[in-house]
Symmetry: C2
DNA sequence: TGACAATAGTCGTTGAAACGTACATTTCGC
DNA sequence: GCGAAATGTACGTTTCAACGACTATTGTCA
């Protein structure tokens, strides 16, 4: 099989290396999928990162999380978590309160409204992702996950 | 092997689906690699997208390209190619001129300065990528490329 | 030919990302 | 305990991304 990306990007010359080809494929595919998700989330007024934050807070099961904890768990690196949380709070999807014991710390918790919104979105997202990624069988899905985790090890 | 991403994001709960896990792994890995490349390009005053444009123009082998052609070939989708080219032109790395036969069209061409810069950067980038992606053997590299191209088919 | 659609690029505006830095608070070492 | 370092968050500023709307030019076809 001749590299599909070459045709896709209408390139006439091959990549400079196999690693280069893999990198470009990876970045391109991630960009496409992320745009897809972004389009899906848009009607709900959320960006993928904001959706990610809400999932983190829900995953905490009611335990509020600090900015630092949220930052560590974000799938994509974000500077300035403060203003990211500002935007979500402005929509009433999370609450924040300053810790009494350590007054430097601010903890965030998802609100009932946030949980409702997530519940609504999740169904659609899951179906969406299943359609998108389902084309790979479960075996190749596992291979993909394996390789990606290895790449970050 | 237990999903590495779960530990990495300090999640206690598993992903909602295998597709979800693959998606998050993909987006996270691409983000890490792209940040890596961005850090490498920074001293040269280029973003990954700007570097991408210059490579497209060099790949054209002296034939100037229109905004639309550049846009089609970009690895990550960009609205507003005009201002993207503005920023690169401001650094003297490309030239633009309006077509005489179709006065709606503007063609861009990489300058000698742009070619020099690319030549300097390429060596470092290649070594960088080889180090990063080399950890996968050539077989898994091929598997990865295959799966990603399949995912976009 | 002349109205209308399609195409290529540009621009205004809003909001968000990037980056560094600053501030408040706590912890540590002596 | 007192100064210095570390920590957690916030903010100023510059640049960029996103989205629409708009202009200019060319193509279409009745």
């Amino acid at each position: 099989m001749v590299g599909r990306l070459i045709a896709e990007l209408k390139q006439t010359k091959p990549f400079r290396s196999r690693a280069d080809e893999a990198y470009l494929n990876l970045v391109r595919t991630a960009d496409l999928l992320k745009h897809d998700v972004a389009g899906f989330l848009k009607p709900f007024g959320l960006t993928p990162t904001q959706y990610n934050v809400l999932r983190i807070l829900r995953g905490a099961g009611g335990a509020p999380k600090t900015c630092g904890e949220i930052s560590e768990r974000l799938v994509t690196a974000e500077p300035d978590v403060t203003r990211l949380l500002d935007r979500i709070e402005r929509q009433g999807l999370l609450d924040r309160e300053r810790s009494a014991s350590d007054r430097r710390v601010v903890r965030s918790r998802i609100t009932a409204k946030g949980l409702d919104l997530l519940a609504t979105i999740d169904q659609g997202i899951d179906a969406h992702q299943a359609r998108r990624l389902g084309r790979l069988g479960s075996e190749r899905l596992t291979q993909l996950i394996d390789i990606l985790e290895d790449l970050r090890a």
